[in-house]
Each structure stands twice: as structure tokens, then as C-alpha cells.
Subunit: 470 residues, 2 copies
């Protein structure tokens, strides 16, 4: 002990950095260790978290749910309109990304996209008319997730839009996603001008029916192998889909070339559109992830996270054991802005695309996609570190999604809400940044982190449904 | 000194490992440091190397040659038959890979491919007839490199075969390559059965003319950006071309779909063939590399390596300052064999495809392609190490070919024969392994290393053309 006191001070400071500052000011050395109390320091949540930690019912439930996620085999099986494919799409309904939100509370780009969808459906002749209809409450606004669907950014999906139909061959459940419009002025970033509506009409009238025939003639498409292959080609299948889109394009093209049922002009237009969009695979990746996670949803007592989704106002998650949303304020995004834009222009985190991270790809698989840092910021080393950090909050590594840069180990997958609440390590998400006003579009891309509060709440709520021995 | 002697022995042993063994046997510690004398220990070559090291004429010449390599802008500008495109292709001539070799000395797969080409050209009706023609000396056998061309593996290129025409927009020089037949039984691995010949005929009659129109209608194609993009998508554009082939396919397809001059059946057949071959881009990559290096060739006093090529018997290199081959016995390849095959089945290193490594991609850019180790062996860490080791023998890093895993630094490029001879670090090459007998095909893939003797000879030969102050 005498030796300890006579030495120069060399302190590891856990928690508040200001305690370390005091030592440093006196000439001592202090290394700050980032730490925060479990469940964000909320005593009730921390108590509930302690109750669930080590509970064999949770472990059992998570094993079952995680096994179902791993066993899922999402196949692209068809293309139909949302009205035909999705449950409960009758009448005037528009789906949006994230947890439920009212028209009044929606962020700018989501409002802009809703109005665009009203025009696309022909329910109003101009934006003012569309706004009056929506404000009068004559259009149902519901989350995509409530209809087994997902949509990137604003997520707006209306009945006449074509959707991908993805079926999990193991569980038989289906998931859906709208189709990717490309970059620039597009509905998902809140743009709703005549060119945007015209493109949506072409997608509904020409591209959707053409892809429907192609998908039918190719006899469906096994999506996990394409995602796995893309992870070996520099994609993380959320914000980088260049390889996956190329692989998809090749399959669509060879089928189309062999088909005798298709109109040559429609094929040429469709394939040229697909070829021009490196993000085209994103929506299929999302639907595949949704199918894998829906397979794992609904296991009583499971703390496996089965959805993370944002509407630009709130960030929401679901866990397998409770079919309800746990929400917190949606965060802003740290990233790179396009020339002429900055943080003041940015909307809060938006879109259902965090379903990819929920399924162990996207930000969780950044180690596969070092080149993505040119788009979202940081260095290739940060990309590796993000993947490695997620190992602390996941139930395992998905052997179907291997990462070459990490010696072909599986991507961290299966977020356990308990581990997030306990460690304070927030799930990382690669995402686009929308302008906060309607009609302007994408202004950048970057990283964001799922709010801790969602996970603490979910754990607490689950604990309150269970009984514990005294 | 007293302290040194009384300490336990802890020795760094440079060179022969057996000296270290002696110390280890006595209970001491010895770390072996790999080292060999310059120029492989040949006194004359070592003296010549010493003369050239630090000589300002060499430095100046290398700067000029390397600058020309960097400035090259290879564009795909057309497709024609070898007879139309290549210089001096009149009459009965067949080109082969590597340095010059006589029929008698050719390895099995190259002989098999020569006979196949004779059948394809219709110069004989069967293999026996083909063999008699060749043995009678009535067919000129010359290296591809002597006709500004390159060909993978056997490299066989005959007058009626379609070739890619690549033009360096900076220097105006052209380079050529035959077209990739896919995997399995193919001419370049020495197969020459009826299916191989039928495929070559289809390539000449249908695919070549179709691609000629497509390339013309797309107004050429800038190849360096595609190679650079592929390096960000897990390719090293020698043994892994999945991304580059997909990107090329997309460009060919969109042009073909917009064309009014093409026959739909020919387009469908051609694009389906291209879509089915992840190595289709290889031959274009090779022609692009040949164009970049030919731009750098012919600078007096330059020790920049402008070609590395193998014929399955000899490995040959050229340096910019001397237009002749420096050869040594072709090595075997360390790698992974297909089921049922092993080292005893393998031919020696074969093909002009090492032009990619000469140009700073392939094995030199393995850091971009961690997934390639599943094909050639080793670990992703080895892939990084191979790229880093090549920095010791190259004149710089090509800023056009950046490597995400190494923080977007350029790929090591511009092999200086002096540095190879001095350090003993041999250029690494990713390559396929052919069966040593004709007609069987590929049996594996792996890594090989350019023989040191080629580089020592080249340095010596250059020194002997120069005068030095006493």
C-alpha cells in the first residue's frame, strides 16, 4: 500500500470525465473509461433489467426466437400492387415508415411524400386539394410495419404502388416493400413534383407488371445468398447496394431475355431504370430482413429486437415478446452532407430501413463495406470497429452473412434489448439524411444510433408482464 | 560488455536458419530474420546491381516511365477479329502466352490449345491432322506480347478469333486480348473437344459481331474507373472479376437494349453468355494493363518491369529499358486444388495474366479482395500482407486504384527490377492452375511468385549496356 501511495498517480476513471480532469489538473494521469449505469440510470428500469438478467425463461425464449431468425429463408416470390398484396389495404390508406404518427406531427419530408401519394392515387388534383383531404382525416395513415411492410425514408406506400412480395420458406410468412425510385428528387425524401408523380405512375403501369412477369418466370429468387454474396463485394445491403443491385440486375436481365411474354419496350425501359440505380436492391434487402425478423416475432418472454423504425419524429422498436412499440425522440445523424447543405437542413432519423441493422446487416455488417465510409463518413477502421462493437449487444453471429475482413466470421445479429440497456451500447445505423422540409430530397448520409430509452422501456415493460419468485 | 556476456543469449539470426538452430539447441533464444544476398548471391549480378543503385540516369528514366504508366487512359474502343486488329497476323499464325517457346517445348495445355485453334480455324479436320500441320512447322507460333496482345493461361489467339481493342487515350497505343470463354472445359486450359470448338465458333460468329456493335454504340468504355470501382467491390481484377464483370454486363445490356441495329436472338445469347461468366472482365482488365504498360515501355535505362508472362515452361519479364525477355523456369503454384486433383496434376505457371500484377492490380491489390482467399488459399490477413510487401519493390502507389482496407491508399505499382533483385522480394501473382496434360482443364487456383533470376538478369543486362565513371 505504501508503494501505491508513493507512486505517481495513474488513474482509470470510470464514468464522468470531469473526475479525471481534476486529477489531470494536478499533474496526475487519468484514462477515462466510458461507462454509464445500466438502463440509463433509471432505477425502476435498472431493477427490471436485473430481474430479467439471467432469467432462464428469457434465455429459452431468445434461443427460440433467434433460431427462427436464423432459419428464415426469404424468397422473392412476386410483384403485385400494395392493394392486392398487403393485408387490410382497402379504401383510402397511405402507409408510412416508423411507429404510428399523426399527420400534424409528421416531419416535413413525410408530409410531402403523403401529399405526393395522394396525387399519385388521383384522390386529389393538386397539392392543396391533397392537403385538405389529409387534414380532413379522410385518408388512413398507418405504419408500413402494421401491414407486414417496410419502406425506406418516408416509407410512403399507397394502394396502387407495386410492391415486392418476399416469403419466408421456413415459416411461410410474407413481407413486403415498395420499390426504389433512385436518387435525386424522389417521393421517399419528400419530393412530390410532377416528375416524381410521373415516375411513380410509370413504375406502377410499366415497371411493376414487367417485374411481376420476370419474377414469375425466374421461379422466385433466394435472397439470402445474394445478400451474402454482396457482403463479399463491399455492400452492407443498407446504404451500399451496388453489388447486390448488379447481381439482381443480371438475374432479371437473363430471365427477361429468355421470356416470350414480355413487351420489348417495357423490358428495355425497366432494365434501363434498374441498371441506373445502385440502390435498387435496398427495398428487397429490407423486405428480406422484415421476413426474417417477423419469423422471430411473437415468442413470449423474448427480448430479441424484431424491428427498429423511425418516422422522423420518433424512433421505435419492437421486441419479440411484446407486440407494441417502444419509442423515444428520433436522433439526428452524424455524417457527410452534400455540397451546400449542413446539419441545420437535416431531418431527424427517418425510415424503416433500420430493419437491416435489426437483422444483422447494414451498420452491423459495415466491416464488409469499407468503401461506404466515403458516403457516411469515418474511416475503414471505424467500419470494422462498429461491427465489432455490435458483438456486445447481439445474441450471436449469423453464419449466412460472413464478413471477409473479419476472417469470415458471421455478422453480429439478433439484438438483445437487455444487452443494449445494460451496456449502453446503442445499435449503429447507416442511413441517408433527408432535408427537413418537404420536396427538397436527400442532403447527406451518415451514422446514427438507436436511442437507449427504447430498449430500457421494452425491458421494463416485459418484466412487468412476468412474475418472479421473491 | 560484461553485462552482455553474462545475460542469457537472445540472438537475431540473419540469413541461414541453421545458425539459429545451433543457439536454440544450447538453450539460447534466436529469432531468424529472412535475408538473402542481393541478386540471389550471383557476384556479377550483384556488382551490376550496385552500379545501377543510386544512378541518377535510372531514377530519371524510371520517373518518366512510371509517369507514362500512371498517365495512361485505357479505353475499350472496339471488337474485331485478331486478323483485322493485331499487327502481322497474316497467314497461318497462332499466338501463345508467355515468352517465345517452340512446339516441342510447349507444356501440355498449351499444345492442346494450339491444336484446338487449328481445328477452330479449319486448317485441319481432326486433332491428328492438326498435330501433323504444327509438327511440319507450317504454322507460325509467336507470343501474344509480340503482337501487342495478351491472353490468359494458354493464351491461344488465332486470326479468326474476336479480340477486344483497347486504346490508351494518352499515348494512342493499342493493346488487344482474346475473349473469355468461361470456366470448365475451355481452350485456354488446353481443352479442344467438339464443344470447345463449337463455343469458339459461336463466339466468332455471334458474340464478337454483337459486342462490336454494342461497343461502337456505347462510344467506347473508360476501363480504369471500372477497375477502380471493382477494387472497391472485392475484386482484384485478375482472379476475382465478379464485380467488374457485373458492371460491364450492366453497361453492355443498357446499350444493347437501346440499339436498333442488333438481332434480338444474338443479343439474348450474347448477354446470357456474359451474365454466366464472373471472369468475363478478366481479358479486358489484361488488355487495359497491357496498354498502360506499353505506354511505359521503351524508356532507355528504365528498370520498370513492363511485362511478366509465362508459357508453362518459362517465366519471362521485360523491362522498359530493354526490349527483350529475361526468363527462368516457370514455378509451380501454391494453392487450393479442386476435389480429386493435387500438386502432381498441376502444370507450371502459365499465362499472360500476370500483366495485371505488373500493372499494380491482381496479387498486388489483394488487400481489396479478402474474399479471394477462399479461391486461392490463405487468410484475409495474408491478402493484406501481400499488398503491403509489394510496396518494397514498387516505384509508387497508383492513385487511380485505391484500396479501402488500407485507408484508400493506392495499390503498389510499377515494379522496379532493381528492388526485386536487391531485396529478394518476389512479385506475388494470383493465378489459376491448369492440368499439366492437354484437354483436362483447370484444377485449382493459388499464388505464385515471379522467379528472382529474371530480375537479376534484367538488371545485369541493362548495366552492361551503360557506361559508368570509374
Amino acid at each position: 500500500m505504501a508503494g501505491l501511495i508513493s507512486q505517481d498517480l495513474n488513474v482509470v476513471n470510470i464514468g464522468l470525465a470531469s473526475f479525471g480532469d481534476v486529477i489531470r489538473e494536478k499533474g496526475g494521469k487519468a484514462t477515462d473509461l466510458q461507462w454509464q449505469p445500466p438502463a440509463g440510470g433509471n432505477p425502476k428500469d435498472a431493477w427490471n433489467l436485473a430481474l430479467l438478467t439471467g432469467d432462464p425463461r428469457i434465455a429459452e425464449a431468445n434461443k427460440l426466437a433467434y433460431g427462427r431468425y436464423l432459419a428464415a429463408q426469404p424468397f422473392l416470390v412476386g410483384v403485385k400492387t400494395a392493394r392486392e398484396a398487403l393485408p387490410d389495404m382497402d379504401g383510402r390508406i397511405i402507409l408510412h415508415s416508423g411507429p404510428p404518427v399523426t399527420w400534424e406531427n409528421m416531419c416535413g419530408p413525410q408530409q410531402g411524400a403523403v401529399l405526393g401519394a395522394v396525387l399519385f392515387e388521383g384522390w386529389a388534383g393538386d397539392l392543396d386539394g391533397a392537403r385538405r383531404l389529409v387534414e380532413a382525416g379522410s385518408i388512413r395513415l398507418e405504419p408500413c410495419h402494421h401491414h407486414r411492410a417496410v419502406g425506406p425514408m418516408a416509407g410512403i406506400t399507397s394502394p396502387s404502388m407495386p410492391v415486392w412480395i418476399v416469403r419466408d420458406a421456413t415459416s411461410g410468412n410474407e413481407a413486403y416493400s415498395n420499390m426504389n425510385e433512385g436518387l435525386g428528387k424522389v417521393l421517399r425524401f419528400g419530393a412530390n413534383g410532377p416528375d416524381v408523380i410521373a415516375r411513380l405512375k410509370w413504375m406502377a403501369e410499366t415497371m411493376g407488371p414487367t417485374l411481376a412477369v420476370i419474377v414469375e418466370e425466374m421461379g422466385g429468387l433466394d435472397l439470402k445468398p445474394i445478400m451474402a454474396q454482396a457482403l463479399h463485394m463491399g455492400d452492407e445491403v443498407h446504404n451500399r447496394n451496388a453489388a447486390a443491385s448488379s447481381l439482381l440486375f443480371r438475374k432479371l436481365t437473363t430471365t427477361a431475355l429468355a421470356s416470350k411474354r414480355l413487351d420489348a419496350k417495357a423490358v428495355a425501359e425497366t432494365l434501363t431504370f434498374v441498371a441506373g440505380n445502385d440502390h435498387f436492391f435496398l427495398n428487397l434487402s429490407m423486405a428480406a430482413c422484415k421476413a426474417m425478423l417477423d419469423a422471430a416475432h411473437g415468442v413470449p418472454c423474448s427480448t430479441l429486437v424484431t424491428a427498429m423504425a423511425r418516422n422522423g419524429v420518433e424512433f421505435g422498436i419492437k421486441i419479440s415478446g411484446l407486440d407494441r412499440w417502444f419509442t423515444a425522440e428520433a436522433p439526428f445523424i452524424e455524417g457527410l452532407f452534400f455540397p451546400g447543405y449542413g446539419q441545420a437542413d437535416a431531418a431527424r432519423d427517418l425510415g424503416d430501413s433500420a430493419i437491416t441493422e435489426t437483422a444483422g446487416v447494414g451498420g452491423f455488417a459495415m466491416a464488409a463495406a469499407p468503401a461506404i465510409v466515403q458516403f457516411v463518413g469515418g474511416t475503414p477502421r471505424d467500419a470494422l470497429a462498429n461491427t465489432l462493437r455490435m458483438l456486445n449487444i447481439t445474441l450471436g453471429q449469423n453464419p449466412a452473412f460472413t464478413l471477409p475482413a473479419l476472417d469470415f466470421t458471421g455478422s453480429p445479429a439478433g439484438i438483445d434489448a437487455r444487452l443494449v440497456a445494460d451496456t449502453g451500447i446503442q445499435p449503429v445505423i447507416n442511413t441517408g439524411i433527408a432535408h427537413r422540409e418537404a420536396g427538397i430530397g436527400q442532403v447527406g448520409a451518415g451514422l446514427t444510433y438507436a436511442p437507449l430509452a427504447c430498449f430500457s422501456q421494452a425491458v421494463s415493460a416485459l418484466a412487468e408482464t412476468m412474475t418472479f419468485d421473491a
